[in-house]
Symmetry: D2
Subunit: 330 residues, 4 copies
């Protein structure tokens, strides 16, 4: 249950209310909320005079539920605002590998009138014998692109040991598919006000996915965006299976903006353009596409990154679809 | 391996060739082919003089492979031809339930300038205590709609006991997700020349899916269409998970037309319009959408069928997306 | 709902009762039952005087539910009876390939004091370019082994076109994983009284699996055995994933005997002995293990079949586990 | 490739070798190893005189491969040693909830002659509105049980923010299913010499699972144990699906001890005894079973924990199965 307290309730009263129902206190848009486990459906009448309003929810999808707040959250990333008719198209290489390729990427972005750049500095590899990312040096290169080209920076945190570093450098903090259950990261992001992009774990149900967002929201940060990037199924011809049915569910039931990542889902560049067009037609808040100046030599995800020419052609086909669903690409 | 024999090879030579490599003899566009297990990579030189040409394939995706025949198969269903710039939009209720609702459906189809009607007469229910379909009476109603409105009829065969009946009545024989491994059905369809629409089993890999098509193709029927309708994954918020990554694979690697069914994948009407738009943007040969005059009283799949008004609105949004990807809806 | 009618109710009354609730009439152990869709929870009081007793079930797991009939069904296969302290260990090759190998198999079975032989004559292959089984000739060889060695014959039906043939030859009709939704087969088996062994489809939920059994049970055949043989998951190091959690569910909730098939689940001979021991410790009614005189030359499933020596060693280790869980191997 | 260097190679030579092939330097049992990405199959002959021996592996399962080190690793936890005929049976509640219930648990353990206690102090919950664990106070209670009853303590780290705390208190550090990709945790554990128990993520392939172990092994800690606890599949009647086929793979291919957790896999107490017996029959190094003095009031995982009486009965049935597979329970 979400309980909105009246104005001017004392801290001790707030704490008493929260303690009575194991609730989490959340400062939310100039109101104080106490969010209890959803199993709680009734509040003792003795609290009546401090309660303004409440919402009984049927699961721990609470602050992110359209039943609590119906309109999609407005979250700003540079020129882009979610919950509007804009679609954020954020592109860049899987990982930051050096200055020259980041320069080439930034120029491609500017050339298309886009507003953000994405790349990872801390790579969450499954093998210790693979490229692990440039670390803080990578973050510095991303910051340089921001300064030089006016781009918003989207980059990933891998684990709690460097979450503050990423929070310091990035405009949008991406919590990767393998890190999205990490309480250390989620709680640190809840204390920030920067947009947090949570990628769905490949073995994660939609319920758990949205509950990860609840960690950040209930921590005090209302700026959470969800990113569907493919789930793991029995099919092995593609790397993962992009779950657009799940996206339909998220759009219907949550107030969180949704961004789609066809690159990681497919795992092979050949399928990305078709999927990107499908994603655009879903009418979502954004797309995330991996683009690399020379995919063949990429240090990670070589097979799935588009080269610049393919991206240019794809972009031309995305525009009329965006128009068909009433959206502009930013 | 696919081996194309020279013209005027005697039957006994053909049989010898086939026997030598456990091959299947296929009459294919005025040529005789012997298709052996793909494990066979070489043919003895003694057969050189009867062989015109051959294709070594890396798996039992053979006749359906773009390596054998690069262009997408042209299959005609009324005014529609696959492998062209047309997209078949075939709609109708889950099951034939009576004449009035079929009349209403047919009129909706005609109103939108569409060319085909779909509905099941033999329902492959998982419970014996559910509506099992109208059987031949349903087929007769479908045939009536064909005569009266000039529509092509797409309908499903459930098991081998009535496959001939369905072959007799239908213009397109749909092999359902639960029946697609059925050799009895596949072989009967291979002896026909009517278009066969094979739905992917929800637990079926793409490899097995295409191999089911190979049963029909190698049986002598070149007219096979694949239909992706969602696979079973761990996610339960939707009924199945529509596998568009798989569709990208099929488009890239096979010469079979692909039709998408967002209704069965989603399982809930609210998500079908978004998904249908995504499917249209994939640039596929067709879409199959369940539409019912009054979904609330439908005898099967009540939750996922669109009512006629919702379909009308959806159709208006599909047209510009079709245009954006260079296609016309038939 | 299952409604048991009083004795001596007239046919017309039975039909009226069934028609009123879309129920299926089942003659069950000298009683007449009407089984309605489980959604029906109440019966009009006007039927009170023809109703002896009823069971309201929460899903279409009805005749197979322990809530209807608590004890595990006693089904006899030669010397074996299910629902007792016996465990049926049925072995044999994947497919019947010839008389000599069937002889060798039968002798191995007799050597270990076992009572049944299993092998397929109709192979449900996923590729048309693979060995499809010996057909009726295979059934004849199995029948010969029965006569010569007194063994019960377990063999598979692939599709409805030959279901009567298999019903005629076999002692236990196995409905394979790819055929278990086939109404043609299920209904034909419902009209028999022979034991029907239904294998779980690899994409089949437990709910659907048991509902397949309900087709046979409600058709009038009370002798249904379930066989778990692995489901399809994201893991590819084994062929399938043996679902012993599902077996625990089936044992707790249904009155159907359960047999386990570790061979198809694992797909590799090296893992079969460990898994077979685990299956035996589950305390189930039976185990099905693929054994071939020379797996390397097997025409199907070559990788997963045990050779005779490996089986002999495995058998010695199964005996003490059977004893530990209070069972004897038959 | 794993390259074992000769004795007395200088640090600069080691670094040069590692740098040449992006290798990780590992001090391993008085040898220096350089482990390169497995894609590297050959070493330049100029390094011949510093190389003692090498192993070319076909994937990044390297230090954990039986091809590198054939025998199962001997890892000691109190009286228990892995890779022997002992099976560790570690029990306890899901979470530490207070001193009294930990006392009751410890007494149950001592009563059965067992050697270790398990419980979580940091709970990796998927909802922020659920009990999150007692934190360091929970670790202190576990340490108290160790001192008072001589038990080894197995407890979980949730994220990198408290990994050092858990390393300080625990005898075995459990990395939970949701944390097993966490580089921060894996690297910290690699710098310790304490046994690390890695639980398989529910969406994690066996390949990735073992690669997580490689992070710890290549960090310098040879004491890694794997724990299979169920994967996420389409089946929802149980919480997860215990993957014993995967266990067969791990036993065959890796030198890492394997422990099984039937409690989390099943999710319901009723199925745990049958599954525990199956796990014991697999001949693995250990079992982990959740036991709580009063499951009905447990703050987490209430449905799956056994009460003490059920555990007592289960234990009596585990002993003969252990004996049947030649093992003693510790």
């Amino acid at each position: 249950m979400i309980i909105q307290l009246r104005k001017n309730i004392s801290d001790s009263q707030i704490e008493a209310m929260a303690a009575a129902y194991e609730g989490v206190v959340v400062n939310y848009e100039s109101n104080v909320l106490v969010v209890t486990p959803s199993a709680i459906k009734n509040i003792d009448s003795k609290f009546d005079d401090i309660i303004e309003k409440n919402w009984v929810l049927d699961s721990d999808i609470q602050l992110s539920s359209r039943k609590f707040k119906n309109e999609t959250r407005k979250i700003s990333i540079g020129r882009f605002t979610s919950g509007s008719a804009q679609t954020l198209l954020t592109i860049g290489p899987c990982g930051v590998e050096g200055e020259e390729m980041m320069e080439q990427t930034a120029k491609l972005i500017v050339e298309h009138g886009l507003s953000s750049i994405r790349a990872g500095a801390f790579k969450p590899r499954t093998s210790p014998y693979s490229f692990q990312g440039m670390g803080e040096d990578g973050l510095k290169l991303l910051a340089k692109m921001r300064e030089k080209y006016g781009l918003s920076v989207v980059t990933e945190v891998r684990d709690s040991t460097h979450v503050q570093l990423v929070l310091d450098y990035a405009d949008v903090i991406q919590i990767g598919a393998k890190a999205m259950y990490d309480h250390g990261i989620l709680r640190a992001c809840g204390r920030s006000q920067k947009p947090i992009l949570i990628k769905r774990g490949f073995g994660t149900t939609l319920q758990e996915f949205v509950q990860a967002a609840e960690f950040v929201l209930s921590g005090g940060n209302p700026n959470v965006i969800l990113c569907e990037r493919g789930i793991r199924t029995f099919e092995t011809k593609s790397r993962f299976t992009l779950d657009l049915c799940g996206v339909a569910y998220l759009k219907e039931n949550t107030n969180l903006p949704v961004i789609l990542d066809p690159s990681h889902a497919m795992g092979y560049a050949y399928g990305v353009p078709d999927l990107a067009r499908a994603c655009m037609a879903m009418g979502v808040d954004g797309l995330l596409i991996e683009v690399h100046p020379n995919p063949a030599v990429a240090k990670s995800d070589a097979s799935q990154q588009l080269n610049h020419d393919t991206f240019r052609k794809l972009f031309e086909t995305l525009k009329p679809i965006a128009a068909a669903v009433g959206r502009t690409i930013v």
